[in-house]
Symmetry: C2
Subunit: 109 residues, 2 copies
DNA sequence: CAAAAACAATAGTATTCACTAATGAATTAG
DNA sequence: CTAATTCATTAGTGAATACTATTGTTTTTG
């Protein structure tokens, strides 16, 4: 179940430092289990599972069950909503400052 | 006063839909006052001011008082922490966003 | 000077959130 | 089969959050 407002869900998922650290560790590791994620983290295994659920609902992570373990992996297209949002407003700035530079150039040759 | 963990503060500031809408409207407008922001928004003027305070503390926005009005405008380097984070952990879009990150750094006066 | 306008700040409230502790379900090991 | 391992889920709790309503401050207007 993917959230309707994807930008909001992705940003909210990554806004929490603990949850973002979990995501970063998943990205760095190709595949990683919950126990491995719990080790080296300051929170409980239940908290890790809750963060994984949030990341999964945001489309940032996917899971691969194997036996009693569940391997987590970063979803490549997960950051795309955030990338689109940034490229949109980054482009806004680029155009604005391009115009400003041109304006200053015209005023003070 | 800028927050210590800039990535967290920027993401947290933009995670809320109402506050992000305020920021987007500031970006689209070159300069805009609080009453103008309140018009067209579903929340109170006090709520807008609180969101502006959060955006300012995150380094996303700056203010220019003039008489009894206060004009708000987007801070060009505000999105840089987010761009840096994305270029690092979004390996998938690294090439795509290398240009944007460099652009945001070049814009800095 | 008095009224209005623009904005910030505060107190209060309802909701959400991140976490722990405990339990449950499923799989593997001895 | 029994015990242990892995993970998800739930209830409960304290803290944070987004909002309204109100008040206060500064500046403009009539």
């Amino acid at each position: 179940m993917i959230q309707p407002d994807t930008v909001t869900s992705v940003m909210r998922a990554l806004a929490d430092p603990t949850r973002r650290a979990v995501f970063e560790r998943i990205v760095q590791s190709d595949e990683i289990t919950v126990v491995e994620l719990t080790r080296g983290s300051s929170v409980t295994q239940g908290a890790i599972s809750q963060h994984l659920k949030a990341l999964k609902q945001a489309g940032l992570v996917c899971e691969r069950p194997e036996g009693r373990k569940v391997y987590y992996r970063a979803e490549p297209r997960g950051l795309e909503p955030l990338a689109d949002w940034m490229s949109h407003y980054g482009a806004f700035w680029r155009d604005r400052f391009a115009d400003l530079r041109q304006l200053l150039k015209d005023i003070d040759p």
